[in-house]
Point group: C2
Chain length 330, copies 2
């Protein structure tokens, strides 16, 4: 019997969130809507120019793990923090959400990763990530029992940025598949796809990854096409199941021979898009690992995404199980 | 000519904010709506029981300083952090808001103060404060030029909790009055008033404090009366000017011979009352130091308070000057 519904693996990052106008992004050379990788020196510089901020645990797959737990699923997480104050905050928050998290923290330098997230008036978020301790995640951090015991393992494409995390992914996937489990990934970011296109396609075509999450721009970047439909036809050949999100247009879930369109939920006000894709994956995977239809999985994803974009910060403050029950999805 | 409009002095605290239900407060012996002082051991215990949280710079008078600056006023702050990560965050946030902050951080222990704030579904906040480095604030931290150069000095009654901050207050007040400036305080919390009633009354009656901010329960605690009107008659005799807030009933501003009722602003949804009194004082003091009528000072206070209680965290993310302009107050 499976001990976990979803095992998530990702960069363990504390978000530092502030608002800014579009001119600030231009003046500081920040690519809008993207995850910009930065070094320690640029992190200091940007922080000195950043307005008053709030701090909140984040990181793409960590947000997904927290979301799965908030929906009532059993979630685990692999990710590397340092044994410093931000690392303590990260560990607190993910465990307090009910996620199993036992990756040994790094003793000493580099410090826990942080991402300075600038939110513009249109709600778009532009991330500036200093990877810090995340660069130390490696195969020695793979807990075989969790890898074999989770119905689905989910990891972020961002893990191709640090040097050895991909080894941890391949090892986890081997444990998972040996136990008859499934492996999923998110393409994370269109620039990330540009950096690792061939490797991501190889993960899918070699069967290392069974289920893929992407948004429209990541899908187009993956297949270097401007046609969404063409991208959809290609991705359904390259993996068993893919869920492609399209912001307010909802999402499309495809298998080899099925195409399931899913609506977005109506929102009152777009505040901050941070975590939208992460919470879509959380809802989808919670639904998937509890045996629901692809349509319902997508609707749970829409709910998670729709709620998180109406608040500041990447992890919904509302209990997602309760929210899903209120709209009749659970 | 004055260099600053408002100099604020207070405990420099980073807030750790989470939601909980009322049962959690009862089970953990937390007095609802109050500022509960805790030691390092209890801080660890409560954090281990706390749900996923976000971190934001707080502290009563620090919030007021940030608010004054957001309204467009010139604000300064005295408060003690430690040279640790939370201290770095605190310093960043208050300076990024445009507040002059030059108090030397403490090298080493104790660490920067933190307050675990539990927000219940009714929006009420219950604070649990570990004072940490704040206990080291003393008269050596008084910058005479700022004390003499600020139109109004404002400090929090909470400063009677750490051992030597009151010496800093008395010294600052002496500098301020010698320069013909005014001194104001907030009574902070009804339990705080119970702890220091005689000293607070002496501050007022001796003329150390000219202007007093209080809410209804603090006023009643100060004069040990259940009658709001009786409290109002007493406080107008004990200080030159007092502003007493009454939540959704607005506030009443009194001098020896004037009584100015002020309405609260309409809000869409009460989210978190943290910072309400602090931002009332910010709006009021911004108005007062820019020569506005008592009514307008109170309305600016209502605006600051009304905006901060519609978000999580004690410092409004909206620019207050812009918000005031939109409703015709500036």
């Amino acid at each position: 019997m499976s001990e976990y519904d979803v095992l998530c693996i990702g960069n363990a990052i504390v978000d530092i969130i502030a608002q800014c106008d579009d001119a600030f992004l231009v003046e500081n050379g920040i690519i809008k809507g993207a995850m910009n990788l930065i070094d320690a020196e640029r992190a200091e510089l940007l922080y000195s120019r950043m307005g008053p901020a709030i701090e909140a645990s984040g990181g793409s797959a960590g947000n997904t793990a927290a979301g799965v737990a908030s929906f009532g699923g059993r979630a685990a997480f692999f990710g590397k923090v340092s044994a410093d104050h931000l690392g303590h905050i990260y560990e607190h928050d993910i465990k307090a959400q009910g996620v199993a998290f036992d990756t040994a923290p790094l003793a000493g330098q580099p410090p826990t990763a942080r991402s300075m997230i600038f939110v513009t008036p249109d709600g778009e978020r532009s991330m500036n990530t200093y990877l810090g301790a995340c660069v130390e995640l490696g195969p020695e951090d793979v807990e075989a029992d969790k890898a074999a015991g989770a119905k689905v393992t989910y990891f972020e494409g961002y893990l191709w940025d640090p040097p050895r995390a991909k080894e941890a992914i391949r090892l986890t996937a081997a444990h998972a598949h040996a136990a008859g489990r499934e492996v999923s990934m998110t393409l994370s970011d269109s620039f990330c796809v540009d950096r690792y296109r061939d490797e991501f396609l190889d993960l899918m075509r070699s069967g290392t990854v069974d289920i893929v999450f992407a948004n429209e721009s990541e899908l187009k970047a993956l297949y270097q096409t401007s046609s969404f439909d063409k991208g959809l036809e290609l991705i359904r050949k390259d993996c068993r199941l893919a869920a492609v999100t399209r912001s307010e247009l909802g999402s499309v879930v495809v298998t080899k021979d099925e195409t399931v369109p899913v609506e977005a939920i109506e929102i009152d006000r777009l505040v901050d898009t941070t975590g939208a894709g992460d919470l879509y994956a959380a809802g989808f995977l919670f639904g998937y690992t509890s045996g629901r239809s692809l349509k319902d999985c997508g609707m749970l994803g829409s709910l998670g995404a729709g709620l998180v974009i109406q608040q500041i910060g990447p992890r919904p403050r509302r209990n997602l199980r309760q929210a899903a029950q209120e709209v009749g999805l659970l």
